[in-house]
């Protein structure tokens, strides 16, 4: 593998760096966890990100697409993506063998407000693949557990098979310092003993105190409106609710305009916005 580096302009944010897939861990029939490392060792050493940031991953011949970084920010030597196959690039990814090379650029955008969360209570609400960009925040909190107040995790998936990170869910469920609740939309196979229904039903299963609490939310587009309504009911102020938005993205650096919500670019001003900010932009939620 070679890369013509000699003549690269330093500033080009469209520039790729090559990374190797070191491990593929299946999560569900259509979702895999990809552990990658930069081919260039120094690059890997220097790599850092804020939970909630994303990168553009490319597979030459198949295009590129944005994916949230999914590992703990404290992990060294490699980092993870968790990707569901829904189309051209993601299907091709699924067929890749270990040691394959992908292109990466980023990390881009604003992540979760980790600094602000210090010493505060945190509620995390994830729907489906939306748990992916939340995972680095959860892991970071768990790894520095004393720095934060209570941690409540609400997670919903379409069906039991689609639950991600099942090993970790088990651990969260059993940790005393985490309150974890989950639900599935439906359970055709009858293998689920827990809640059935959309994520918002979990608000009845858990008590959230609005005091000193921050909420981090990520899920499918339709989820936000309902979750926000619940959080408003509880009395959580808008500037303590954060959400990560998904939009179509083609450049990641504020040029292609696909990701505009109001005057904000999801790629650069987001993907994480406070609800307060998001509310000022038409069509955001």
């Amino acid at each position: 593998m070679t890369q013509s580096t000699a003549t690269r302009t330093e500033k080009n944010a469209y520039q790729y760096n090559m990374a190797r897939i070191v491990r593929v861990t299946p999560q569900t029939p259509d979702t895999n966890l990809y552990t990658v490392e930069y081919v260039n060792k120094d690059q890997q050493k220097q790599f850092n990100f804020i939970p909630g940031q994303f990168m553009l991953l490319s597979l030459f011949g198949h295009g590129e697409a944005p994916f949230g970084i999914c590992s703990s920010p404290n992990q060294t030597g490699s980092f993870d993506f968790c990707i569901r196959s829904v189309g051209s690039l993601t299907n091709a990814l699924q067929n890749l063998a270990q040691d394959s090379i992908v292109g990466l650029r980023g990390p881009f955008g604003h992540g979760w407000p980790m600094e602000k969360l210090k010493g505060k209570n945190v509620v995390i609400i994830g729907g489906g693949i939306g748990l992916v960009p939340l995972r680095p925040a959860i892991l970071d909190i768990l790894e520095n557990r004393d720095d934060y107040g209570t941690l409540q995790i609400m997670y919903g998936a379409r069906c039991p098979e689609e639950l991600l990170f099942k090993d970790e869910l088990y651990i969260w469920d059993n940790r005393r310092d985490v309150e974890y609740v989950a639900t599935v939309d439906r359970d055709d196979e009858h293998c689920w003993a827990g809640n059935i229904g959309v994520v918002t039903i979990l608000f009845d299963r858990i008590t959230i105190s609005p005091k000193d609490t921050y909420a981090l939310v990520c899920g499918p587009p339709i989820m936000y409106k309902f979750v926000m309504r619940e959080l408003e009911k509880i009395g959580l102020p808008d500037d303590r609710v954060y959400l990560s938005l998904e939009r179509r993205m083609k450049c990641g650096v504020g040029h292609c305009s696909h990701c505009l919500v109001g005057s904000k670019f999801v790629c650069q001003d987001g993907p994480v916005f406070s609800y307060k900010e998001a509310k000022t932009q038409r069509g955001a939620v």
């Binding site: 593998m1 070679t2 890369q3 013509s4 003549t7 690269r8 302009t9 500033k11 080009n12 944010a13 469209y14 520039q15 790729y16 490319s58 030459f60 011949g61 198949h62 295009g63 590129e64 569901r84 829904v86 189309g87 993601t90 090379i101 292109g103 499918p220 587009p221 339709i222 998904e246 939009r247 179509r248 083609k250 450049c251 650096v253 504020g254 040029h255 292609c256 305009s257 696909h258 505009l260 109001g262 005057s263 670019f265 650069q268 038409r282 069509g283």
Partner: protein
């Protein structure tokens, strides 16, 4: 950049234009307005006689030279290992004036304003390196409009007398062109073709001023207080007019393709039939097209034609002013001229001004 020393205004004889073109084409690729069936377009000029400086407007704006309809960003090949080559990094051909390689002749004020607009909007967060590079490679010779063209509203939009982004600015004066030198590059162009330019007399300078003042008065001004439209748009957001327009609009994207300020693009990969080579290509996209705001899982943030019609105006008249304090429309009227459903921008904007119902 301003010229180093003040250069007096110059005169270029119309009959010398072919000579000028001949000289310029020796060192640069020259583009200019040419006849295109019943209309005009910017195209490569090899001979001065092709130039139609009497053109009203072109189908596509000169944006196509700075953001081409399709452009390879990187090329890649697998033979047998993967090699990636950034098209930005292609070896610099040494050319005359610090990498200047092409010249666009006869750009009207509205288009000059649009180029300037792109300079701002596409560097908000981070300069678009591909466009920036083409901007650095291009020279622009502007041309003052003396006659209004149909469907335009440049005077209302405040772009009628823009000289922004031009290196030289021409004004027609009987058998000659009055030439304002606006930048250092402009000065170098004049220097290069010295013998074709002569100093302008004070009378000529006066005459040009008078001509332009007169023009400014006579040009149509169909829209009052253009700068108010953003707030008026805000008020009309839920108005009935968007449904009405949506019933007529085809969502065909013609308006955005021809718009000098539109710049949205799509990125995808092209693979050659040998399955070994390919390129990452960016291509003009349009917010009017159904897939523009579609994401994985099938959710479409603007699923209907009315929602997309409104978004185009939203972007130009609200989002962009919010971002860079400038309205994203220069009043060239191309969208009106291109719309197969006969949607008229002046009408649309005055509807907004009237509250949208």
């Amino acid at each position: 950049m301003p010229p180093k020393k003040k250069v007096a205004a110059l005169i270029l004889k119309k009959k010398d234009i072919p000579k000028l073109v001949r000289q310029l084409t020796q060192v640069l690729t020259v583009y200019g307005p040419v006849a295109n069936q019943s209309q005009f377009k910017f195209d490569t000029i090899t001979d001065g006689s092709q130039l139609r400086l009497d053109y009203d407007t072109t189908i596509l704006p000169p944006k196509k030279f700075f953001i081409p309809p399709t452009e390879d960003m990187v090329t890649f090949s697998q033979s047998p290992t993967l090699t990636i080559h950034d098209t930005l990094a292609q070896s610099d051909i040494e050319s005359l004036w610090n990498g200047k390689r092409f010249l666009v002749f006869g750009v009207h004020s509205c288009d000059l304003a649009a180029i300037k607009f792109h300079d701002l909007i596409l560097t908000q967060i981070y300069p678009d390196p591909y466009r920036t590079r083409r901007r650095e490679e291009g020279i622009i010779i502007g041309l003052n409009c003396l006659l209004p063209c149909e469907d335009s509203f440049c005077k209302s939009a405040g772009t009628l007398h823009t000289t922004d982004s031009a290196d030289l600015m021409l004004t027609e004066l009987d058998n000659t062109y009055y030439v304002d030198v606006l930048t250092e590059t402009g000065r170098k162009v004049v220097e290069f073709c010295k013998i074709l330019f002569s100093p302008a007399s004070t009378e000529q300078t006066k005459l040009v001023k008078k001509t332009l003042t007169q023009r400014n008065q006579t040009f149509p001004d169909p829209l009052d207080s253009f700068e108010e439209i953003p707030s008026q748009f805000d008020a009309s957001y839920e108005a009935e007019m968007w449904n009405r327009l949506g019933r007529r609009c085809f969502g065909c994207g013609a308006c955005t393709m021809v718009c000098p300020t539109c710049f949205c693009f799509d990125v995808s990969d092209r693979v050659e039939l040998n399955l070994k080579e390919g390129a990452r290509v960016r291509k003009w996209d349009s917010c009017q097209l159904v897939d523009f705001a579609l994401v994985a899982g099938g959710h479409n943030f603007r699923p209907t034609i009315p929602s997309r019609v409104r978004f185009r105006i939203y972007h130009k008249f609200w989002i962009e002013p919010e971002q860079i304090n400038q309205i994203g429309c220069v009043g060239c009227g191309r969208c009106t001229r291109a719309c197969p459903a006969d949607i008229d921008m002046i009408e649309l904007l005055s509807d907004i001004q009237k509250g949208g119902n």
